[in-house]
Symmetry: C2
Subunit: 233 residues, 2 copies
């Protein structure tokens, strides 16, 4: 199992003390620990409690205007996993994993969702719905002005945030995962009956426990360097 | 300051014990603690070490094929912050925050980036570059087949993952943030000279410490319910 190497790294014990927190080191440790798992131990099943934590983390995801324009299917049935595996060009992680999360976004902007959001916001903020109507109108006009292509980009982006919450929450629990974007969208939509629900599949994430023999667990991470990624202005 | 209410919630102390970990509780606590900060305390400046941790978390982000098709500008100059604030319709968080992260994605697919990735992968996996050529070709053909619109969706989605790593890392350190997608992209591109670098601004995230008077910190979170979001199959 790969471990964060404090001797080789920016985050020495001294620095951890300076930060006066263990939490961040834990998240960084989790980020280092996780990898795109190529093979799962199919005999290990996640507990309901572990799944509850993963769901809670996805639920708390940030989204544009708070709209959360998606639904998440948790595949438990081996038969459905097999069908999705086939639609994902036979990638075996899907068949082996304890559970498979399928993230689907809405096909169209639904102003009814903004109405529902405004009602909830008013309740949470102790305000009248009428007070929030200018805000409702501004969301409606912002969203309504989007072309189909921009809307698809917006929807996909929101799903990727939620998916990332799943990956990070899983990693901090020592649960393995593998985000997958390469699959036959129409086939997955057919398998889950998404089109009639106004949804379109976007990402598949098998979760479970890695197979000890998965060699990919041992490779160092391949990432752009800090200097390639960042520039101060 | 809003706190995770264990008595009202799924995640009781007993459940935490069952999970045999504090880590996840910490991430959920952080997710509950954070909110889209509407007002920052402009007198508090993040330390270099805090910024290093945030950068490290962004660097470790998951991305499709590991390509990380983006660059992140950390705005420290008050003058540049003011210009960006104006391009973001005057949203004052940008001027008040300690630092402002601007995420920009590539404008076009660059096969040179895949070449670089393959060289790094070969090194990290102890393999010859030639062995990875079929993989390189498959990425190249997958990416090359994308329409401009699909590419934009793909790029934006990758940026949203990295941005989410920033938000979560910040929250676990008790650093506040506010993700913003509503701004004049062309103006921000002009301010930072992004077009000539082949980049396009996508997201702005002011980070720092909340203003104690920001009333938004006290509102309960507004999210879809678990039953609205999830379905088991």
């Amino acid at each position: 199992m790969r471990r964060w190497d404090f001797t080789q790294n920016l985050f020495s014990r001294t620095m951890r003390k300076q930060l006066k927190t263990r939490t961040m080191t834990d998240l960084l440790t989790a980020l280092e620990w996780r990898y795109a798992t190529k093979s799962f131990n199919s005999s290990v099943r996640l507990t309901d409690l572990q799944l509850d934590v993963l769901k809670k983390a996805v639920q708390l995801s940030v989204s544009s205007f708070g709209l959360q324009p998606y639904k998440v299917f948790i595949i438990d049935s081996q038969e459905v996993k097999s069908a999705i595996m086939e639609a994902a060009y036979g990638q075996k992680q899907i068949g082996e994993a304890s559970h498979v999360f399928v993230f689907a976004h809405q096909r169209q902007y639904q102003s009814k969702e903004v109405e529902d959001l405004i009602v909830k916001l008013a309740e949470n903020q102790g305000r009248k719905v009428e007070e929030l109507q200018p805000y409702q109108q501004s969301i409606d006009s912002w969203m309504g002005a989007m072309s189909d292509e921009k809307l698809e980009t917006w929807m996909s982006s929101q799903v990727h945030i939620a998916m990332n919450n799943l990956l990070l929450a899983a990693a901090t629990l020592g649960i393995d995962s593998c985000p997958m974007g390469g699959f036959d969208i129409e086939k997955v939509d057919d398998i889950l009956g998404l089109k009639s629900e106004g949804l379109k599949s976007c990402l598949i994430v098998p979760v479970g426990v890695r197979n000890d023999k998965d060699i990919y667990a041992n490779y160092p991470k391949t990432r752009k360097s800090i200097s390639e990624l960042f520039e101060v202005r």
